[in-house]
């Protein structure tokens, strides 16, 4: 997908620094998510990819920098600094976001249908229960799990949980989707099916997506642009679409994208 130069990014991150207490995770993070774009956050394990999502969606406060939410459709409206806003404004901004967690994070006390209905029940317009369930069934049909509507999460496979999590993330028609390792723990067929579903969602809804993953086939198929976090230097060391990073100058990026071992110091 090509970037349109005159649209405002739906999310812009400027100079973000992430810490856990005294421990630095990543710093100097700059990125922008354009309308309808799939933006990949790449890097090795423990480099702070999932932590970035938590900073963008309001679960963790940054140690520095800004998280700016633009107009939901990428128009020329104003931007809002998430962490400088009051709770009411932050709640409004969060309503634009749907999130698929790494473990799907389905609420185990509710069945599949209730899990998918809950985001709808919290909307300001308060749709009736019948309308909520109708919309939830529509989305479950879309992800191929309408027959599992009354099953409990413990009765689902890993792939099914991810699809229910995705249904829950999109049921309220968010403009932005955060996908945290959607293919983690899935077999290649289930992973491929999920990737196709993600592309289908982008096609139908036009949602912008921030994708955290280290699954190379998914990254190559899905992402239009991306950023690469380095766990050693604690900084992003590459920007660009995954397929353009295979010949990157930095050996860590090249090794990651080509699935090669880094040369040992002695061999180097």
């Amino acid at each position: 997908m090509e970037r349109t130069p005159h649209t405002t990014p739906v999310i812009k991150v400027k100079g973000l620094t992430m810490r856990f207490g005294d421990r630095l995770i990543q710093e100097h993070i700059d990125l922008s998510l354009e309308p309808g774009e799939i933006f990949a956050v790449m890097g090795g394990s423990g480099s702070g990819k999932s932590t970035l999502l938590k900073h963008l969606v309001g679960l963790l406060p940054p140690a520095g920098g800004r998280v700016l939410y633009g107009d939901a459709q990428g128009g020329q409206g104003g931007v809002t600094d998430y962490w400088a806003s009051d709770e009411a404004t932050r709640q409004q901004l969060r309503r634009r976001v749907g999130m698929l967690f790494q473990s799907a994070a389905l609420w185990t006390s509710m069945d599949v249908l209730d899990n998918v209905c809950l985001p709808l029940s919290l909307q300001p317009e308060k749709p009736s229960l019948a309308d909520q369930q109708a919309r939830a069934m529509e989305v479950l049909q879309w992800v191929g799990l309408a027959d599992a509507a009354r099953r409990m999460p413990s009765q689902l496979s890993g792939g099914m949980k991810k699809r229910v999590g995705l249904a829950r993330a999109i049921v309220a028609e968010p403009a932005i989707l955060f996908l945290d390792e959607p293919s983690a723990g899935l077999d290649p067929i289930a992973s491929r099916r999920l990737d196709e579903l993600i592309l289908d969602i982008r096609e139908r809804t036009g949602a912008a997506m921030l994708l955290v993953s280290h699954e190379l086939p998914s990254l190559m198929d899905l992402a239009d642009d991306g950023i690469f976090f380095d766990a050693d230097s604690k900084r992003p060391i590459a920007h660009g679409a995954p397929k353009d990073l295979c010949d990157h100058a930095h050996p860590t990026v090249r090794a990651f994208m080509r699935r090669e071992s880094l040369p040992t110091p002695a061999a180097a």
Binding site: L59, Q91, A105, W107, T108, L118, L122
Partner: protein, 263 residues
């Protein structure tokens, strides 16, 4: 010295005082918002909590209190029989059960059963990112998860206390009839005369406070658990130990106040 100071600050000041006070404040604020009509809770979840904390707990509460009543009657009888005052076992058991034992024993049983369950459930939700998923939707975990549990136990524990009191008295009846050859009717008549509303109101008042304390401890530890399996175990242990110690401390405060007020 700096390390000692930092440890004291983190473990005693922050973890021991500031964080519990903050959680209590959040609970009070969400309770006020709930009264004003802003309470977001699923009815199905609330009913599940109520059912598990009441009907689910009744058998063990009744059995344990009946045994405690029997033990009290047995120990009392051994002494009172020497003075030909075996019938006063009924007074001893009914007053002790109504004022102290039923409330405390019920609270201790519920701490190990329901308080631990609250801590484990919420800690597991933390591990599975279910609490994060609620926050992303704009739901406050304190109002959505903790407040229903605290309010439920605050009104359910007094009900369990009443059943526990009856069970304790009947435990005493069994010992009175079996050991002292007292007729159950005479025993119960004696017990009814000895027990008055002061004793029951004291026990009920304690039960309300104990219920809030157990649920508070379980929810506090659960929502602050580390996000791993060990964290779930640690949260559960801390909830149970904290609840039991808290119950004993609060009971001591009640004893002093009741004595001062002449109740």
């Amino acid at each position: 010295m700096r390390w000692v100071g930092r440890q004291w600050h983190q473990r005693v000041w922050v973890a021991g005082l500031i964080e519990p006070l903050r959680f209590t404040g959040e609970l009070v604020i969400t309770a006020v918002q709930a009264v004003a009509g802003g309470w977001q809770v699923r009815r199905a979840d609330l009913l599940r909590i109520v059912a598990d904390s009441s009907a689910g707990a009744l058998p063990i509460v009744v059995i344990v209190n009946a045994l405690v009543g029997a033990i009290l009657a047995f120990v009392g009888a051994v002494q009172l029989v020497q003075f030909g005052a075996g019938i006063f076992v009924a007074d001893l058991v009914s007053i002790a059960v109504a004022r102290e034992m039923a409330a405390v024993i019920t609270a201790v049983v519920m701490a190990g059963r329901t308080g631990a369950a609250f801590a484990a459930e919420l800690a597991t939700m933390q591990v599975n990112e279910e609490v994060d998923a609620l926050k992303v939707l704009g739901l406050d975990p304190v109002g959505y998860l903790a407040l229903p549990r605290v309010l439920s136990l605050m009104w359910l524990l007094p009900l369990l206390y009443l059943f526990g009191t009856m069970a304790g008295v009947f435990g005493g009846v069994a010992v009175g009839a079996g050991m002292l050859s007292l007729s159950p009717v005479a025993y119960l008549d004696r017990a009814a005369n000895a027990m008055d509303w002061r004793h029951l109101w004291l026990g009920l008042s304690k039960s309300v406070v104990f219920g809030g304390l157990l649920a508070w401890a379980g929810c506090y530890q659960g929502l602050r658990a580390q996000r791993d399996a060990a964290g779930v175990g640690l949260a559960t242990t801390r909830a149970v130990v904290g609840s039991i110690v808290g119950v004993i401390v609060v009971d001591a405060v009640f004893a002093v106040c009741a004595n001062a007020l002449g109740v």
